[in-house]
Symmetry: C2
Subunit: 401 residues, 2 copies
């Protein structure tokens, strides 16, 4: 069997076919391109049993990833993050079968490592040597690290309010970092101009096709780690939405292989009340989302006012019978603290937003409490020192407790 069954790229809206052997960005219509594979051949030649011999990283699924050879893979050991039960917290909110996939245990401390590993590997394989991206922090940190490893030159533009630690990660990896007094959309506009002017290949969210392929490995892992039995509901904190779209794509690919069957998990997108364009569009029954004005939230990674993947998120939510939910910053911080205290599972604010959503969906009856619910904790809490307050008493050495 080949290392990868990649055949071509396809416009997510119109189905227009593009050559995958050269660098591609968006379709001419402005929509994202999706990587397509020879699933018929893979169904015959590939098997679940073959996974036993693969590495303990997301690259174990290389057959349905875009990179053409093992030598081209740029890896920091990413993948197979644990799925944790949350027994005390789950019972407390009335959802005893609650589990969390802990993406904080990845290189660079977030699920962005998956997209970066796939995106950087494929960029280098296609001969690209200078990349540029806007970021809310974690993606810039991840892509900077993988770019350094691959020897690619990297420009990052980040809102000045992004978590400060992510600046240091970019700089540590040698990226050319600029802050902007604005939001990620403003950073994206600066990157687009810089790409034209200086010849960077832009790797903004869904504006190149391969980051999504890395992110989709969350879906492969959820299936494999669950013994090819899927949860009933998957809850995801949605900014650009690449992870949600990716998980849905992965599950459809596995269904085409015949490795999973039955109903797809209901996909739930969680946004912050201060930035909820997808929730608003979902509730309005719209197919696309209008940009959100004055976006703000403590969960900075999902402070995304608009994105080119809006219609793909809304499609995945509706196709699976899911929903979109907004949660307040107060709810996010309260559930973050409650889960850490109850089960020792300390989430980033974006991850904690999924907990707040589950609690809300149980309270309003959308969840009955019997479902197997999987939430995605997208990253490490260590980049968010302000999410928890600590004022411990100071002792002198002869003091007693």
């Amino acid at each position: 069997m080949p290392f990868s069954y990649l055949t071509h790229l396809e416009c997510a809206r119109e189905g227009t076919r593009y050559d995958a052997s050269v660098p591609q960005r968006l379709c001419e219509c402005g929509s994202p391109l999706l990587a397509r594979y020879d699933l018929d051949a893979a169904r015959v030649e590939w098997s679940k049993d073959a996974l036993a011999d693969e590495p303990h990283t997301m690259w174990r699924y290389h057959a349905l990833l875009p990179v053409q050879s093992a030598d081209a893979v740029v890896s920091l050991g990413e993948g197979l993050t644990p799925i944790l039960d949350l027994p005390h917290y789950g019972r407390a909110i009335g959802v005893p079968n609650l589990v969390a996939k802990d993406e904080g245990q990845l290189p660079t401390g977030s699920f962005k490592a998956r997209g970066a590993s796939a995106g950087v590997s494929r960029a280098r394989e296609l001969g690209i040597d200078r990349i540029a991206m806007p970021t809310n922090g974690n993606a810039g940190a991840a892509w900077s690290a993988y770019a350094a490893r691959a020897g690619l030159e990297m420009l990052v533009v980040m809102p000045k309010d992004a978590p400060e630690m992510t600046r240091k990660e970019c700089v540590a990896a040698g990226a050319d970092l600029r802050l902007v007094d604005g939001l990620i959309g403003d950073a994206g506009a600066i990157v687009a101009r810089a790409a034209d002017r200086h010849g960077y290949f832009p790797v903004s969210t869904l504006k190149e096709p391969y980051r999504l392929e890395g992110k989709k490995t969350m879906g492969f892992e959820i299936a494999e780690q669950g013994g090819w039995q899927l949860p009933d509901v998957i809850v995801y904190p949605a900014g650009g939405g690449v992870g949600l779209i990716g998980i849905a794509k992965a599950l459809r690919e596995l269904a085409a292989l015949g490795w999973i069957s039955g109903p797809m998990p209901k996909m739930v997108a969680v946004q912050a009340a201060g930035c909820a364009p997808i929730v608003r569009a979902f509730e309005a029954g719209a197919d696309t989302a209008e940009p959100w004005q004055d976006a703000h939230t403590v969960a900075f990674g999902i402070n995304v006012a608009s994105g080119v993947g809006d219609f793909l998120m809304l499609e995945a939510i509706r196709a699976t019978g899911g929903c979109a939910v907004a949660v307040s910053d107060e709810e996010i911080l309260a559930e973050l603290a409650a889960c850490a205290r109850s089960d020792g599972a300390f989430f980033c604010p974006e991850g904690a937003a999924t907990l707040a959503a589950v609690k809300q969906l149980r309270a309003n009856g959308w969840l009955s409490g019997d479902e197997r619910v999987l939430v995605i904790n997208t990253g490490s809490p260590l980049k968010y020192p302000d999410a928890i307050r600590a004022d411990p008493p100071l002792l002198q050495i002869h003091d007693d407790v």
Copy 2:
């Protein structure tokens, strides 16, 4: 086969035997107790092949861990951290076969998760419900999380200069945290008094026998992930030294099983020039180390002026033909930055200390450059925002790069 082959505890200095079925602390002589297993039975009944069916965590080695049943395991998904090659950095310092085990990709962001998972699991199994510990930060963060998960009450005493993020981790997990205007030894004295006064079980470094068992899983993983071929040299940043002692213990146990053979890797202990009691003792040919005065280093986790495991570290170093090396804070920060930039591998200062040591040992000829050298990056850099400086330019939204 039984879940665990644990038989008893044994004084590391005198060999005195202790009952492992009840809580134990130190030997009456003041030395650590080591967990012993029925290796003869394990050799017959257990096999490498059986590992294929085990979970992708350190608990895959449960046969040589102290916990008596799978139900008693308190886990956040810890273990099987990746071993990364460092091709650019390694070549630059003349050690091309340099690899790093990245323990930053563990729950709570450090290798302390291993000791906490084993220690908390076993404490709860033995009926202990209140524990207390001194910490330089990472151990407190890890034990607090596992204690929360296990429902144990937890007291933590930490020097006020420990990384600030680790305070928040303890508090988030619901621990009772106190700072002390002193060093970890002062924190230990406060914990000892609190234990007597309030009935906490103290779980200070090597003063209970099971943290070491968790840490030793690094040794099992190094062997298994290397296909049961060992590196020539293992380089470890030594504070209390539990990891170094644990790796050496694990490799001896694997040799007794017949799973590995040949010479043991040379064990190298790295300390900071501002706190190097083991280096001083090694160079003096002493069997034990005198406490270091005025200890200080940016690598706060190894700011340990004295410890009860000194003789075990010195024994392991000498028995394998290893050595002990001191590195300056300037060297630590320089190699931290160089490795991140070269290979996208961003280490904590303690981990970077091992890089500085490898560079020094190559420069002075102790390493020829042909050896396969494995360094332990003990934790995530995300808790050390001051280790990297970032002053990126600030753009307005209409500015160009």
